[in-house]
């Protein structure tokens, strides 16, 4: 399902003295199967934007199309529940949504709500618990006896169990240790590729953005300030500086590498491995 956002505006507490513009003039289109990363400073409207994609927030102006679903300000989309079945959201600190007696019951809460049979839901729970890196014995345990990181994994399994075709991740790795971050991000990326998901990731990590995304959107003060492929975005160093955002370390390194060897590298090198390779081959060339 393609996503098209047109002139989206969101005002919190509209019409009261506490009115506050969180989004304005947001135009964005996201093709099915894209891995899109949203970056922006705190308060730039990232969370507000993604909550529009499954109808948790309604636009105060503008419209959103998600496949056959239309969300417009002032109109009621009656099939919100159906939409939410297609759009899974992992919120910031998703472990706060756990509530059941056992982990299994919590994971199947979403699927059951969307009409999946109990048998099928339990099958998914059994698969997912291993996929998120916990073992089978966890299913019968209480979600409240777990460590924070384990709770996070269970909560993520609870969203994945709905088998969404659009997966929205709002800083899914905030507060995890570096290894946990990597594991979880790799999991999302694998799912993205294997299941052909449309993934929308909100993150503060430039490295993750560089590594996984097809497209990057930079939000600033409630509107889209810059967008494009990682290559386009990260090579625009001046624009990034103007938005006071960091350039990923690998990109900085490549810039210095280029200066040092007086060459230009192909602008698609962003991951650590690729950077190492490029550097090694440059060094080899120099030697020979």
């Amino acid at each position: 399902m393609d996503i098209t956002i047109k002139e989206l505006e969101h005002l919190y507490s509209k019409g009261t003295p506490f009115e506050r513009t969180a989004l304005k003039d947001v135009d964005l289109s996201i093709k099915e199967g894209t891995f899109l990363t949203i970056i922006g400073h705190t308060g730039s409207g990232k969370s507000t934007l993604i909550q529009h994609l499954n109808g948790l927030l309604k636009p105060t102006a503008g419209s959103i199309e998600i496949g056959e679903f239309h969300i417009k300000s002032g109109e009621k989309e009656k099939r919100l529940k159906e939409l939410r079945k297609h759009v899974g959201v992992v919120f910031q600190y998703p472990e706060h949504q756990l509530f059941e007696e056992t982990i299994e019951k919590d994971i199947i809460f979403g699927p059951l709500n969307f009409g999946v049979s109990e048998e099928e839901a339990k099958k998914r729970a059994a698969e997912l618990i291993e996929l998120v890196g916990l073992d089978h014995s966890f299913l019968e345990r209480s979600p409240f006896d777990l460590s924070g990181g384990q709770m996070r994994r269970v909560a993520i399994a609870g969203v994945l169990a709905m088998k969404p075709s659009i997966l929205i991740l709002d800083e899914p790795t905030a507060g995890l240790d570096p290894r946990g971050r990597k594991e979880i991000m790799e999991l999302f990326y694998r799912l993205h590729q294997e299941e052909g998901l449309t993934t929308i990731l909100v993150t503060h990590s430039m490295e993750d953005a560089a590594r996984y995304s097809d497209r990057i959107v930079i939000m600033e003060k409630g509107t889209v300030a810059l967008q494009g492929t990682p290559m386009e975005v990260f090579s625009d160093a001046n624009a990034l500086k103007a938005l006071s955002l960091d350039i990923p370390e690998t990109v900085q390194f490549i810039k210095r590498l280029e200066d040092r060897f007086n060459t230009t590298l192909p602008h698609s090198v962003f991951t650590l491995e690729e950077t190492v390779e490029a550097a090694v081959s440059l060094l080899r060339e120099e030697e020979s």
């Binding site: 919100l80 529940k81 759009v87 899974g88 919120f91 706060h96 509530f99 809460f109």
Partner: protein, 265 residues
């Protein structure tokens, strides 16, 4: 949805009423509740009305907020009015609809009782509209201070109130977050059959309680770590200052009371 619910209903401002010492306002409200019962004829009720209205005007609180405070009990006021009009059979008969007779005394009683309720609600709303909840708490703690001698846990009571006030917005915010997370997993809070909606209360309340208890534990730990051990010998960071303008308020109140006593029939 629930953003910016102003706890209590404090409306920031800098008027004479806002700047009064919370103790003065609390005492005045308390005394006003008593002297309202002195009024028993048109002129005394007019005096009370004048006092109430000037207090509102001086506070510069928009009428809308006063009206919001009145809304919940408007129905009760109207009901009381009609009960008196129809059931009190005093004074000359005004008109007779056959099945119902309306007497002058009934109308008078109806108007008086409704005005009494109106004034009471307006003045108490004015207290909460112009005083932050924390100031009310501190004011109450100092006013009730003398009762500590009789074993009343005044400090604990005030502490409880301020902690509750501090955490209400946090809890509301949390409620909203959890509601959204569960709605994204297909729970139905605001639409769909009643049965569905009732069922979705569990996924909301359990996480809410879990986090509230966790917060309570953290708070207790943090307070203990910083050496909190009850109210004994504790001083407050908020110093209340009784000024001339606070005493002036009591002059107004005294004049009002004397006038009421002289003019009542």
């Amino acid at each position: 949805m629930m953003q910016n619910i102003i706890i209590g209903q404090y409306v920031p401002g800098k008027s004479y009423v806002h700047n009064l010492d919370p103790r003065a306002k609390l005492l005045t409200t308390f005394l006003f509740v008593i002297i309202v019962f002195l009024a028993n004829n048109w002129i005394t009720y007019a005096l009370l009305g004048a006092f109430t209205i000037s207090a509102i005007v001086v506070s510069r609180i928009p009428i809308r907020f006063i009206y919001n405070g009145l809304k919940p009990i408007l129905l009760i006021i109207i009901l009381t009015f009609f009960l008196h009009v129809f059931l009190t059979k005093e004074g000359p008969l005004l008109f007779d609809l056959g099945f119902i007779e309306v007497y002058q005394g009934g109308v008078e009683q109806g108007v008086f009782i409704s005005m009494r309720l109106l004034f009471l609600i307006m003045i108490t709303s004015l207290l909460t509209l112009t005083t932050t909840p924390i100031d009310i708490t501190v004011g109450l703690e100092t006013l009730l201070g003398p009762f500590k001698r009789f074993g009343l846990p005044v400090h604990e009571f005030a502490l409880m109130m301020s902690i509750a006030l501090r955490f209400i917005p946090t809890l509301l915010e949390e409620t909203e977050k959890i509601m959204k997370a569960q709605a994204a997993r297909g729970a139905q809070f605001s639409s769909g059959p009643i049965k569905e909606r009732l069922k979705s209360i569990v996924p909301l309340l359990v996480p809410l309680f879990v986090s509230a208890f966790k917060r309570a534990e953290d708070l207790a730990m943090a307070m203990e770590a910083r050496g909190y051990r009850g109210g004994e010998g504790r001083t407050s960071i908020r110093l209340l200052k009784w000024e001339a303008k606070d005493s002036l308020l009591f002059v107004f109140l005294l004049v009002l009371s004397i006038a009421l006593i002289l003019l009542r029939s």
